[in-house]
Symmetry: none
Subunit: 207 residues, 4 copies
């Protein structure tokens, strides 16, 4: 279906994808206007529907398309070389922050996709693409170095606590940093306190 689209000039493809991404990211599925998309992509109304039969297919295509870009950069092997759970989760937290700075529109899009309430869309999303995200998510905890934990600790639960803590802390930081999106920050300063939390939990769970 969309193979037609993929044969297009790369540059035109990008214009269309970016126009759509921004519109959906800003307004969500229902409020997004195909009129705005074609206008800011500089193509005709008919052409959009020539490639993607309808709004929904366009949305779903974007979801699939950009997930790859994100995943490719996010799940680099380097994270998984690190077998210490604290270090790995901290790296992932920071790496996620960098991605949010680099591709804010894509993150906005997925954020809006996550909370998408449009009944038309909701079902399709949960069943197909979020599955992928969920599966990828589980890789985060693969092949952790378990030898460092104290004896008698319920390791899965310890890892839960560690990841909830880093997630909570990450959210706190990022919500404070939002305004600074364009700054040159490399997040070293912003995430400095992370080590305090990490130490507290290391003392609790590590030998």
């Amino acid at each position: 279906m969309t193979s037609k689209f993929l044969n297009l000039h790369k540059e035109k493809q990008q214009r269309i994808l970016n126009a759509a991404l921004n519109e959906f990211a800003n307004k969500g599925f229902d409020r997004a206007s195909t009129n705005e998309i074609v206008k800011s992509a500089g193509i005709s109304k008919g052409l959009l529907f020539h490639y993607f039969n309808n709004k929904k297919e366009l949305y779903l295509f974007l979801h699939e398309y950009f997930i790859e870009i994100l995943m490719k950069e996010f799940f680099t092997s380097e994270h998984f070389a690190e077998r210490d759970v604290f270090e790995r989760l901290k790296k992932i937290m920071i790496s996620k922050s960098h991605l949010m700075k680099k591709y804010p529109e894509i993150f906005d899009f997925y954020m809006s996709a996550y909370i998408e309430t449009s009944s038309e869309i909701k079902n399709e999303l949960t069943s197909s693409h979020f599955d992928l995200m969920a599966r990828s998510y589980s890789r985060i905890f693969e092949n952790i170095d378990t030898s460092k934990f104290k004896e008698g600790i319920d390791m899965n639960k310890a890892i839960d606590i560690i990841s909830w803590t880093l997630e909570g802390y990450g959210n706190q930081v990022m919500s404070g940093v939002k305004g600074l999106r364009n700054s040159e920050a490399d997040f070293t300063r912003e995430f400095a306190e992370a080590d305090v939390y990490i130490d507290m939990l290391k003392r609790a769970f590590y030998k």
Copy 2:
């Protein structure tokens, strides 16, 4: 303005409020249809606008109206009698779960309000009602018994970890329970594991 509305038959009031609550909870501000609301409330189109001058006022009224119902039940004094931070947060977590079971539509409504992207609404919400919620939220950590913590622990950070953990755990449980919303569960079974997490953190932070 809305005093007109409050003089109505209680039963009619409820029909209108529930119809609106459900529509907004399901679809968010923009997609919600006043047509649907009047249809499911069994009143005429004109009447809705007789009481609430426009869609926005109706939405804001709902926000204000249901917040009280929720707050009254949620912030009972009994939570704050408990000075042990673990016990208090566990009680609050369970109490929140009970409310979610009792008033799922109201929770859905506030969830959708929280992520509301409609620019018309966003500003009004953050400035007025969410302030109340934020202020109430901070009460959760008031007057905690600090004497139980180990010497040398950064207590605020410890409390952060505790609440992120219980929140994370609570979300995990509730997302698993969603389908069972109407069940008779009193959550004793569902939250049994909470104590494991609590013990792990108590051992880390308490004397």
Copy 3:
């Protein structure tokens, strides 16, 4: 029909009439809102329709009611004592200007009535009330002193020219004076030039 209305407290009558007059004067028949009228008259919706069965009857009643107030002051005998056509028309022009200053709303109302395009209203007006105005208008030229005109002059045409001239001049002046409505002007200054026009025509038509 409206005898009900005339038995009301004079003060309440006035509140209603003024509220309606202003609304119609400002917005014309169609755009005038009965809601606004009852609000600014401080009465209930039902009551307005109790007295005047519908918007149209209210409008027609106003037309009839205020015409009398205006006519009574406008067609004072004093104008008609003056038999010199120039003097009479000048007096009438000035007298009209004074009325416009004294009752601007009533003039606005009749102005808007004159140009009323609402098909509902147009027919009723032309047939009944404007007839009265037309008949009254013809009195303006009654019993003129014809002895002053030059021999061989078509007197009716001369009078046409005189009245078109004074009307044209009056309109020119009043459109310039509009902003000054509330000033204390007695129009002596504003109409000073009238005498120049009058002299030019006297020289042409009078012996």
Copy 4:
């Protein structure tokens, strides 16, 4: 913006313009219904708003569009070749009458535009298009042959009187002729009396 519209089939353009012109001429801006316009133009509701973004733009477009048609025919150079003020004004009066017979709807439209009270429209009109009309109007008195006037006559005032007279006479005639709009009259008979008025004033003001 409206260039889209001008690329349409001429015939369809005309259908739309005429439908709109008539509706606005009959009812004024506020009461005019876009529903009626599309119905009598035989197009869909959406199409009207595809070309003109909203009712106001449509109205303003009509104002601009028809003014040209009118102006082109009205301000022919032939009027201004005639330097005798009486002849020029008589020609203009007659020419105006012919236009009123030829394009009664356009005249009705501009009449209704002139008295338009809708606040949305009023400001836009006065500032732009009526300026043009005012400027064109002033051309009427340009380059008059002043040598014919008696010495000592205030020529500007004389011209005022002449034009008020011909205007007054013209209105009188046209209001009597209204019913006969479709007649074949070339107005020679109707305006025969004009010469009597003209002679009376010539005797007064000309050498």
